[in-house]
Structures are given as structure tokens and as C-alpha cells.
Symmetry: C2
Subunit: 193 residues, 2 copies
């Protein structure tokens, strides 16, 4: 029974991802998601209290993957770590498959809706702190010059988010892995001692 329940949950998540990506978050209804997943509305509400809850579950899943990716990218020194992360950027985006447009939409709603905003703001702050700590470590190990780690973290996050947004509208035009590596090279020189 437990296993079947997990399967249903996974089917709902997969269907929601598909629907949110193709029609957009607002346009995709719970009915659409149920039809796509082949589950009843009762089953849906057994697993998730609302459409937003499904969205958040997808968002959390993706954050977990991003976090795992970031940890895997760790190297002995901070410049090596950041360069390695830049190299992984396109793969992290690829893992997001249909989620990126959806997250943009959520970001958009966050600018209008306080409840959504809180959900986005927490991981955003967490990533800022994560990169500030990395920069601090880079200063301590003698790789980076002395600077405000918060400002440096903001540049790194801006860079990642900006790459993501550009990748979204020009996925074929550019070799994003090469672009990310070359950009990180410029950034590394900017942070270096």
C-alpha cells in the first residue's frame, strides 16, 4: 500500500511538472494535473493540500539536487571549487528540465504575493550566505583579497541567475558551459589576491 502511495505521489509530481512547464503555473489546473497523472482528485488532495503545495514540492526537489551538485563540486581551494561549480552550471540547469520557466513564474508571483515571496526568499538568502561563507574561506586561505564577502556573494549569485535567465531564451545559441567557465575566469581574477 505504502509503495503504491509513493508511486501516486511521484506520478502527480511528474504530471504537474509537465503541465506547469507547457501551460504555465496559472493556466495549469488541478484537474489538468489529475488527468495527466491518471489519478482522482481525491487522490491528489490526499497527497497535496493545494496546487501550490505541489509546486513547492517540485521546487524543494530541485533545490535538493542543486545543493547536492554544489557539494559534489567542492575542491581543496575555493577558486577551484567555484570554477568547478561554473563548469557544472549547465548540468544543474539541465537537471531543472522543465522547471526553469516555472520558477521564473514563481519569482514573478513572489514580487506580487507576500506568501510566495517568503518561500522564494528563504533559499535565496541561504545561497547568499553559502557563497559569502565560501568567499570568507577564500580570503582566509589566501586565495582572495580582503573584501565584503556579502558583496562578493551577490556578484556570484547575480552571475548564476543572469546566466540562467539568458540560457532560458538562448539555449542553442551559445555554448553555455564554455560561457560559464570563461565568465568564472573573469570573476576569479576579480576576487583574487
Amino acid at each position: 500500500m505504502q509503495q503504491r502511495s509513493e508511486e501516486t505521489r511521484a506520478r502527480i509530481l511528474g504530471a504537474a511538472l509537465k503541465k506547469f512547464s507547457s501551460s504555465g503555473y496559472d493556466a495549469a489546473s488541478v484537474d489538468d494535473i489529475c488527468a495527466e497523472a491518471g489519478v482522482s482528485k481525491g487522490a491528489f488532495y490526499h497527497h497535496f493540500p493545494s496546487k501550490q503545495a505541489v509546486f513547492l514540492a517540485l521546487f524543494e526537489n530541485w533545490l535538493t539536487m542543486v545543493d547536492a551538485g554544489l557539494e559534489t563540486a567542492r575542491k581543496p581551494t575555493v577558486p577551484e571549487t567555484l570554477t568547478n561549480m561554473a563548469r557544472m552550471l549547465p548540468f544543474i540547469f539541465a537537471q531543472a528540465d522543465g522547471r526553469l520557466p516555472m520558477f521564473l513564474e514563481f519569482w514573478l508571483q513572489a514580487s506580487r504575493d507576500k506568501a510566495v515571496w517568503k518561500v522564494i526568499n528563504a533559499p535565496y538568502k541561504r545561497y547568499l550566505n553559502y557563497f559569502a561563507a565560501l568567499v570568507k574561506q577564500g580570503i582566509a586561505e589566501g586565495s582572495f583579497h580582503r573584501m565584503d564577502p556579502g558583496s562578493a556573494a551577490q556578484v556570484i549569485v547575480s552571475f548564476a541567475v543572469g546566466m540562467l535567465l539568458q540560457g532560458l531564451i538562448a539555449p542553442q545559441d551559445t555554448d553555455w558551459q564554455k560561457a560559464a567557465e570563461q565568465s568564472m575566469k573573469i570573476l576569479m581574477k576579480g576576487l583574487a589576491k
Copy 2:
């Protein structure tokens, strides 16, 4: 007559900006815009063939303001110019008033709709070329080290777009002018000879 027609056009644009910002592009109908502007549907379609055409007019207006801002920021050397542009970034965003969430939405649609994509992609490419030319000039004047100007332009655009996106969800949290200046300082060091 001509003057009254111009007034009507401006009223439609103002009403559309208001509606798109508060309800979102999809949810705001031509009827809503007409009601807000106090004009008939006939008057609307006399000025604009479609809702999308109004959106594009708002987009073009904003690009014109951004271009004017960028030209005003010009200084004798390229590092001074870029630093000055970073300083202006928060004002450029402020000029966008309610337009930013709307543009994000458009960006989102561009990832799904080829026609919208073309409209976004052209100015995006234009800005990439604009900054690549600036970097080339910086190399020629001896301010920057030799590098691929296209990659450097991508970092600059990523940085600006990333700042914009962060400013959208955390407008009060951060002194964005200071953040932009400090970030540009790191970037300038990365580009320097």
C-alpha cells in the same frame, strides 16, 4: 484632433502598464485596459492591433530610456563608463517602475512562444554587442587585458540581469546602488590589465 489622439494613446499605455503590473500580462484583458483608460474598444484598436502590441510599445519605451541612460553614463575611459553605469543601475530599474515583473513574464513567454522570443532576442543580442564593443574599446585603450569580448559582455549582462532579478524580490533588503557599485568593482578588477 491629432493632439487628442496622442492623449488617448498615452492613456491606453498608462492603463496597460497599470493592469499588466497588478494582474499580470495574461490576466489583464483588453476590456480591463479600456475600462482603466476610459476609452472604447474601438479607440483601443484604432491605436493598437492587439494587447501584445501595447506591451511591445511599453517595452520599446523602456528600452529607449535604458539606451538614453547608458549613453549619459559615458565617460572618457571604459572602466569609468562601466562603473558609472553600475551606479545608475538602480535608477534604470526605478524608471522601469511597474514594468519589471511584466518583462519577466514576457521573458517567460519567450521561452514558450517563438514570436515573443524573436522580440526579446533582438534587443538582448543588441546589448550583448553593445557591451562587447565597450570591452573591445577597453582593451584597445589599455584598460583591460586581452580576452574574448563576447565572454566579457556575457558576464556584464549576466550581472545586470541577475541584479535586476534579485532587486525584484528583495527591493528593501539591500542598498542596491552600493551592491551594484561594489559588484562592478570586483568585475572591473577581473577585466583589468
